[in-house]
Symmetry: C2
Subunit: 599 residues, 2 copies
Amino acid sequence: MPPEPRTAIATVCLSGTLEDKLAAAAAAGFDGVELFENDLVVSPSSPAEIRRRCVGLGLSIDLYQPFRDFEAVPPERHTANLRRAARKFDVMAELGTDTVLVCSSVSPEAIDDDELAAEQLHALAELAATRGMRIAYEALAWGRHVSGYEHAWRIVRRAAHPALGVCLDSFHILSKGHDPAPIRAIPGEKIFFLQLADAPTLPMDVLPWSRHHRLFPGQGDFDLTAFTGHVLAAGYRGPLSLEVFNDVFRQADPRPAAVDALRSLLALKESLGVLELPAAPALTGHAFAEVVTDPGAGSVLAPLGFARTGVHRTKPVELWEQGDARVVVNEGGAAHGAVGAVALASTDPARSARRAEALLAPVLPRVRGPREADLASVEAPDGTQVFLCGDDWRDDFTPTGETAAGAGIFGIDHVALTQPFDHFEEAALFYRSVFGLTPSPVAEFAAPFGLVRSRSVAAGEVRLTLDAAVVRRGEWAPAVPEPQHVAFACTDALAAAAAMRAAGAPLLDIPGNYYADLDARLDLPPGRLDALQERSVLYDRDAHGEFLHFYTALAGARVFFEVVQRIGGYRGFGVANAPVRMAAHRARRHAAPPVKTPA
Amino acid sequence: MPPEPRTAIATVCLSGTLEDKLAAAAAAGFDGVELFENDLVVSPSSPAEIRRRCVGLGLSIDLYQPFRDFEAVPPERHTANLRRAARKFDVMAELGTDTVLVCSSVSPEAIDDDELAAEQLHALAELAATRGMRIAYEALAWGRHVSGYEHAWRIVRRAAHPALGVCLDSFHILSKGHDPAPIRAIPGEKIFFLQLADAPTLPMDVLPWSRHHRLFPGQGDFDLTAFTGHVLAAGYRGPLSLEVFNDVFRQADPRPAAVDALRSLLALKESLGVLELPAAPALTGHAFAEVVTDPGAGSVLAPLGFARTGVHRTKPVELWEQGDARVVVNEGGAAHGAVGAVALASTDPARSARRAEALLAPVLPRVRGPREADLASVEAPDGTQVFLCGDDWRDDFTPTGETAAGAGIFGIDHVALTQPFDHFEEAALFYRSVFGLTPSPVAEFAAPFGLVRSRSVAAGEVRLTLDAAVVRRGEWAPAVPEPQHVAFACTDALAAAAAMRAAGAPLLDIPGNYYADLDARLDLPPGRLDALQERSVLYDRDAHGEFLHFYTALAGARVFFEVVQRIGGYRGFGVANAPVRMAAHRARRHAAPPVKTPA
């Protein structure tokens, strides 16, 4: 296995003061940081104090950045630029760091002249060398004359100074669609620094894309494994360093953000074959889901055909079952009930837990009574507990002897985990890297109170959906956080809905307008449409099959149930119908939310 | 004066259920609505109930929208499309509305054949006519084959059916840079509908630009007066109707949003000369600013050279003065002090108030004691009171006889009103339309806890700055809402800072790192740099002049003071230095904000 690279993070990735950022990077376990100049400028700590703080935290300062608009300018500006650089070298000396990032000029003063650029960078490198420092020259994707890494490397080669090399930034290269393979031809010792950022594919100019929407590796659409592979193959031995400008991360708690950031690098290293982690065991399905409901609300499961089959030996929770659908109901829960835990059946729970721990997922301590199963329990970014179970978890429950009447439910289809605004990107990377689930592309839909982003993470019979608001909700938009739910799979949704309604299940009524629209759009056979409408069953279809589903009312402030039937190879989750459900839940709950006047 | 057009708003502009949206549109004073199909589909109210509700609210339903992917398809799809349309005509009949928006097809099935498009639209119009309905055909900017309004009009002309006309949408036309002048050549009776939206210039594809970033007229960069002028000149006599897709408005309280929306149309009508409003009187300066501070914190003004010159005759507030800088201090205020009121000197306060009222600004009732001045008082979107004053407002205060020692302050330079997240766009339109202030372009800067948008609204000596977070702040990022402040103008900031510090003013200390960076960037004369640093005075310059400024510590949880010196014609507000101030305030306030674990 090749040597494992060190890890670093640019302070600009994280929110807070410089002191907050350094503490968060160190706590997550980074080896070093890139010090972003503006973070230092606003800090009351002197460079020498920052140096001591980093030493105390076990962080190296691997790069000082950025130094802008240097190369290929008229002589008097060049003189001023060298003076400006000298002042920054003073700061770097106090910080105890030796490499500065010089990004290609965007100045209207810059001249399109590689020879002049090389000459002036040579002079800068010479000045740096006298201070024991070095220059990492980077092509910005929007640089005025130099905007590609091969161009930057040609200038560096022409300058031919040992204190001058290139800095490679995955965003600047991959956002422009430049081929990263020729990086292999750059001598590794001339690659002075490597900055990594992922990004979603967005139809916008590269500058605002870069400044607002970068993501940590594995969260976007770039192939960072291939990219980084080229850089390592070239012989680069410096740190893998993250430089991510993201509007959401910039205002989110830096401590979980730093953990998430480092996790992205660990997963990247694993994919590069420079870090060995316990492989993710196969997950064979949903062992159970735990819901936290209002007192008494667990009984909504009875008219759905479930039986209360067990009582936990030591905890105040009950097991409800129907077919392979198993729900642990916690009625003593918080005021705002929700899905408390997702329990996944693992072929090797202990190894699942070791992998989670290696990928910085908090493995939760668990009070284990005598005869209780050893469930591994991991905390997801949104606070949901994820249990990894073998076969023995049911021994924790004393059987009641009750058996389910049954209403056609045979298992858990998926669990819908609405996400806090700050954790949407983080969550997908978490489920992918820790458990090996595959994220779907992000869909967006208009709900009554604002836009919602939605994606699933799935593998085989394990399916989770992750939704979050596009804009963090304020005082007007209700249901923050939105309710979560467990969706059961059934064989015949129309029959199930009829049986459950007859048994008194509080199913959600769907407006006639929905069926009028369905009729206009899809021209279903008349009997079919009537059957759906009569039972308030919703309908969707895709290229692979059909989807019938219906919902219960809220069983507590934040949790409800869904029953779904997949016909053929339907791959979705009925997202197009989510706004109908949201409006119907709201209509049932209250006539109108509190309204604030403009004051 | 030409006839005043009616006003309408598409329900998709506003947040909430359909019932919420209709109530908000009616309360604001709109004449009608465009009913967005998805709002109806999720509503528990039947179309007939919605019709009755609209009648009760005094709203007409001017348009049903959208009907997609209709024209120029193979015959079997055309038959299905007519069936789909017939179902929608049923709904429209129940709603009692007669016009449907058909937008140009984006379907891969659509054929690039104007004759076929005209033929099929003719068939649709024929079907509509049998129901007493009509079709408004609109070119989407991203339509597959029809993406320009002139193209849509050619097809409509070719179809030659009295129940078929065009719908013009300012966004689809202006976003593509199409010339709107040829609209004048379209017969007014063939323009069946007019949709208005503004937008900021954004470097992105037109589809996401349209779906996320539209604004109400006057909030963006489009010339909607010229655009709408062409449409009215063509003879269009339908409503001016707003169709704005905006991520922020979609989740904001619909009631103030609807008021803001209607205000945008009133201002547009005024600019078109179809509505006469009381003209905005000239504002000659800041009469005073009222700040709400912690008890005792008002005395911070004393070491700044102010004297307590008056005590209000009936209210527990005091007047502090220095030169023409006047501050009313309200120490009995809320727990979270801030700028409570901005008082602007108007050449005609009563007319200022009449204009404000005509533009839907809440004119606040004011308890007026005997001998008290008749201040007009208007509430801004963020809750700030704006007083319009003549010369007599000082009669409300009993003079104390104290006189200011003075420290070089001669007036109020500007008042900085940080804005709630939902009201940033609204605020600029409010100050522009109601008071005739000119908004600056929006700048964006990176503050320690997230990105901030900033703009000013100004006219002569009246200057306000409006800042808001780019992403609504959550639990981590502190100071929500951010503190506000009053900035005083002085003749010599260095002398003032020295004198005030000597007098014990709690001035903010600026880190040495800031001056090291200033030195590197600007190469100021050495004596100058030392003088700035010694006194913690910040520095900026632009093409027109220089700016020296310094801050006090917070005088309460949410308010502080700034002292500024403009040299030459400097036009800005030192925004580049705002992050330094924010970090320094934070460093003074507490060592660290509460930190949440990932849970």
